[in-house]
Subunit: 301 residues, 4 copies
C-alpha cells in the first residue's frame, strides 16, 4: 500500500516534516483555528491546530512534564497555580499531581479545543476537568491576567506561538511579563513555552531577553520532542528564586516527597535540559531585543 | 516562487523530512552508493548518501565534535588514532586539533566520497589530507581492523548505519568490538556513532548492549542535530577508563590544555549529552540483545 | 499560509498527484474500503476511495456523461438499464435523463459509499434514488449478473479498477463479458470504464482485447478528466450494433430528441473521444491477451 | 528502496505533480532560467526549466508533432519556416522532415538551453543544427520579428508561457501577432503553443481571442501530454487559409506525399485535436479579452 493522506508541517517554505495520516478522528474549525485530530503511524493520536502538531499520544508527556515540573519544584510547595492556554488538559493533569495544589485556574480562549480533546484525547485530561480544585475560564489570557487580583504561586504559559496577527503575540511582551510579576506570590515562579531554539532561534532568544528585562533570575531550558522533530524551549523565571540555583540532585527527592510520578522528568533529565551546549547558549545570550506591545517580535511566518 | 526540487528523507514509510534543493552541486554514483552534494536553504551545502543527509555546512561541527572530543579527552593524551569511515574528513579534522596526535589512520571504503568532499565540501577537510600525520587507507574497515597489529589510543567508528545487506552491519557486532578491544592500547578508548535513539531506538540500544557485552565500562550519549531533525546517539567505551568517570568540569580545562577550539562542545555540552532523560535511559538499558556475525541486528528498512 | 493537509495520489511509486485538502467533510471505513469526502481548492468536493479520487464536484459530469451517453444513444431507445457499481448515483442520474427508460437497476456492493454520497455529495444524486423507475440492489455485481434472467438494453459497468486481490477483477474477464452478452437484449449495448489508457495502458488494452474476444463490434474511447490529471478510457460493445457505425453528427439530434441536457457531451465531443491518435491506437490494438477467471490480468499495484 | 529525490511541479499552490528523480544528468543556471536534465522513471530523460517539464524522452514527439504538422500541412508546401523559441531542437527536427523546406530560421534567447540539449538530449536534435537549411539566431524573438523583413510560409511559436515579468508575455499580444501577420507570406500559417486549456483555461482563451482579433481564420486545438499530466493547447491561424477548412482525411495523404514519418499525428489524431468538447469550446469562445503591450494578460503565478 502506498500512503496517500499526509500532514506536511512546514518550518519554513523550504523545510518541513511529512507524516502519513492513518485516520481522521475529528476535523473542524473553531472561531480561532483549524482543529484536527488524526491517528498517525508513529505517534498515535495527534492534535493538530492550524497545521501544527500540538500533542501526540506517544510523547505529549515529555512536553508537559518539561513545562510543569521544574517550575513546581523550584517553588517547592505551590498552592495556587494559573495555567494560560493548555486546552488539551495535560498541563493541568501534571499540576494536579501535586498534593499541595489547592486551586488551579486554567484560562483558554478556545472552548472548542477543550471539547475536542475531552472527547477524542482523553489520555491527556481524564478526570482533570472534574477535579474540585480546578476552575476553568474560557477567555483571553491577556484580559484575565490584567483583570485578576489574585496571587499565584506558579503561572504556566502554555500558549500558541507569537505569530504575526496571531492571538498570542502580546503574551510574550515586556508589558505582559511585568503584569505576570505583579500577580505572582512573593516566591512565585513563571514558566512559558518559548518556541523551538533550533527552528526559530531568534524568537526563542527574544522571549528569553524579554523575560530577563523584567525578572533578573531568568533562564531557558530545552528538550527534544520526537513528534516535533525539534528541540523545544522554555523560559523560567521568578522574582526571588534563581532557577539555576535549584540543585538538580534534589529533583528526584522533591518528586518523591510530592508523590509525583513522571515518565521523562527526573534529576538527570533536569540536568540535561538546563545544560545547553555552547553554540546555542552563545546565540541566545547575544540577543538583546525586547518584545513590547508597540514593537512586538514575531515568529517568521 | 514555488519550490520544485526536493529531498525527502524517510525515517519510515510514513514519516519523513522534506527539504528544498537550491542547487545540485554534484550528482553521481560510486561503487557503493548514490552521492549528491546539494545546496539547501537552511543548512548550506549538504552531502547526501543514498538519500540520507550525512553532513551539512551549517551544523556538521555538532556531530563531529560530539563524536570525537569525549573520546579524545577521556583518553587524555592520544598519540595514535584510528578512524573507521569518516569520508568527509571532518572527523579527521577534529582529531588533528590535538597536538598530542602523532599518527591518524583513516580507513574508508569509498574513495569517491572522499574525492567529492575534497572537491565540493572543503570546509570539512581543508588541509587535513595533506597533514603528514595522516595515513589514508581505501578499504574495508573490517579487514583493516582484523589485519592490523598496530595499537591505537583512540578508535572512532564514523560509519554508515547497520542496515540489512548494507556494507556496515558487521562493524556493529560483538566479534568486531572484541577485535577492536585487542587493538586498543591499554588505556585506549573506542567510540562509535550509534544511530538515532529516537528514530531507531532499538538499533541504538542494541549497539549499546553489544558494546557492553565486550567492554564493561560502556555508556551512551545523545545530541540533537538540526539538519537530521533528530537526536543522534553515540556509544563510548574503554577497557580501563569509565566514560562516566570523567569529571565534566574538566572538559573545558582539557580543551584549553590541548589548544582545541570548539563551537559546540564544552563542559556544559558534555553534561548535556551524557545526562539522558529517564524514558530514554530506561528504554536503552532494558535492551539485552547482542548483535553477532551470525545473528546481526539490523536497522528497520 | 502554507498548506499542510494533502492528498497524494500515486500512479506508481515514483509518480503522483498532490492536492491540498481544504476540509475533511467525511472520513470513515466501510467493509470494503477507506472512504473520505474532502473539499479541495480546484475541484470542490471530492470522493476519495482508498486514496483514489473517484468524482469531484467540478468535473464529475465529464466522466459520467462520457460513460453513459454513447451507449444510450447507440441503442437508440433503451427501456431497461443495468448499472454495475456507480455508488455515487451520478451514472444513474445520467441514465434517468432518458424518458425512454422504464427501469434502471443499480447493483453496488458498498452501501456505505451510497450513504456517504447521498449525505455529502447530493449534486451527484439529488432525487435519483427516489425515482420510481430505480431499483437499488446492495450486492456483488458478479452474483447479480450470473443470477438474473432479466434482459437489459444497456448495461453500464462503473466499477473499481481490476487490481490484484481487489473485489472487481473478475468483472473484467471473458467469462463475465460472455454472461453480460447473455443478458443483453438483442440490440443491447454494454459499456465499461476501462482504466486510464495513459497511466495503465496495458490494463486498458487487455480490457479491450477481452471484450473483443466476446463481442466482435467492440471499440474503445478516451477522454481527459482534469481531476484525474489523466486520460480515461472506456470500452463499448454490442452483439449487433457497431459503435463505430454511429454517425456522430446524429448525437446532437438524438440528445435533443430524448430531451437530454449535457454539459460536456455532444457530436463534437463524441468525435473527439472516438478519434484516438495513432500511437495509442497502435498500442491498444497490438494487445492480444485476454483476461479470464483462471488467468486474470491485473493493474500494476 | 524509498525514493528520496523528487521534482514537484506546481500548477497552483494547492495542486501539483510529483515525480521521483532517478539521476541528475545536468544542473545549472543560464542568464534566463534554472536548467536541469533529469532521468525519471516513467518518462526517461526530461528537460526541466524553472521547475517545469518541457520535454521528455518518452513523449516529446506528441507535443512537437502536434505543434508543427497541422501548420505545415495547412500551408501545403512550406519553403521558409521561422521557429521562435524551440531550444531543444525538436521543433526544428519536425520542420526539417519536409523536403519542401529550403530555409528554417530558429530564434532562441537562451544559448545555454540549446547547448545542454545538444549535449544531453540528442534524441531531440540529432543532426538538425548541422542541416545546411538551418539558420540559428541567439536573440530575442520579439526583436527578430520586428526587425526582419523576410517573409515566411510557416511561423511556429514554441515559447515559454506568458508569466508575469517573464521574458515571453509580449509574444502573446495583439501587437506581436499583427507584426507576425506582416512577415507571413500570402498563404502563410502561424501556430503558437497556447498553454494548457485545463490548467490555465483563461490564459489559453485569451491567446485565442487575441489571435482572433488579428486573424479572422483562427482556431485552437488540444492534445493530452502524459508527462504534463494535462491537456495542452495550440492556436493556429492564417490570413487566407481556414484551419477548420483543412479536410482531415487529407492529412495522411499529405504526410505520405511529403515523406514525413510521425508516431502520433495522422488524420485521426488531427480530428481528435480539433474536435474540442462542448464545455471547453464554450469556455474558450466566451473569452473576449485581448492581450496587448499596454495591457498584457498573464498566467496566474
Amino acid at each position: 500500500m502506498r500512503h496517500w493522506h499526509w500532514l506536511i508541517e512546514w518550518d519554513t517554505p523550504t523545510l518541513g516534516h511529512i507524516k502519513a495520516i492513518k485516520r481522521v478522528v475529528y476535523s473542524g474549525r473553531s472561531k480561532y483555528q483549524d482543529i484536527i485530530v488524526i491517528e498517525t503511524y508513529e505517534y498515535g493520536l495527534a492534535l493538530v491546530l492550524d497545521g501544527k502538531t500540538q500533542s501526540t499520544e506517544f510523547d505529549e508527556f515529555i512536553y508537559h512534564e518539561a513545562l510543569v515540573h521544574p517550575a513546581m519544584i523550584l517553588h517547592g510547595a505551590p498552592r495556587k497555580v494559573l495555567i494560560l492556554g493548555g486546552g488539551e488538559g495535560a498541563t493541568l493533569r501534571e499540576v494536579l499531581k501535586y498534593g499541595s495544589v489547592e486551586r488551579a485556574v486554567m484560562v483558554d480562549i478556545d472552548e472548542e479545543v477543550i471539547r475536542v480533546c475531552r472527547e477524542h484525547m482523553r489520555f491527556m485530561n481524564e478526570g482533570v476537568f472534574e477535579d474540585k480544585r480546578v476552575s476553568l475560564v474560557i477567555g483571553d489570557a491577556l484580559d484575565y491576567v490584567f483583570n485578576t487580583n489574585e496571587a499565584f504561586d506558579v503561572i504556566i504559559a502554555d500558549l500558541s506561538d507569537p505569530i504575526v496577527e496571531g492571538p498570542s503575540y502580546k503574551l510574550y511582551t515586556r508589558e505582559f511579563y511585568s503584569r505576570v510579576g505583579e500577580i505572582l506570590s512573593p516566591n512565585g515562579v513563571f514558566v512559558t513555552q518559548a518556541t523551538s531554539p533550533t527552528n526559530t532561534p531568534e524568537t526563542h532568544a527574544v522571549i528569553y531577553s524579554t523575560a530577563r528585562s523584567v525578572f533578573p533570575k531568568t533562564t531557558y531550558y530545552h528538550i527534544f520532542i520526537p513528534s516535533f522533530e525539534a528541540l523545544w524551549g522554555f523560559v523560567i523565571t521568578s522574582k526571588t528564586l534563581d532557577p539555576r540555583g535549584l540543585d538538580p540532585e534534589r529533583v528526584d527527592e522533591a518528586l518523591a516527597r510530592h508523590g509525583v510520578k513522571t515518565r521523562f522528568y527526573d534529576s538527570i533529565a533536569h540536568i540535561h535540559m538546563f545544560s545547553v551546549p555552547r553554540n546555542l547558549r552563545e546565540f541566545i545570550e547575544r540577543e538583546s531585543r525586547v518584545s513590547t506591545f508597540d514593537n512586538p517580535v514575531y515568529m517568521p511566518a
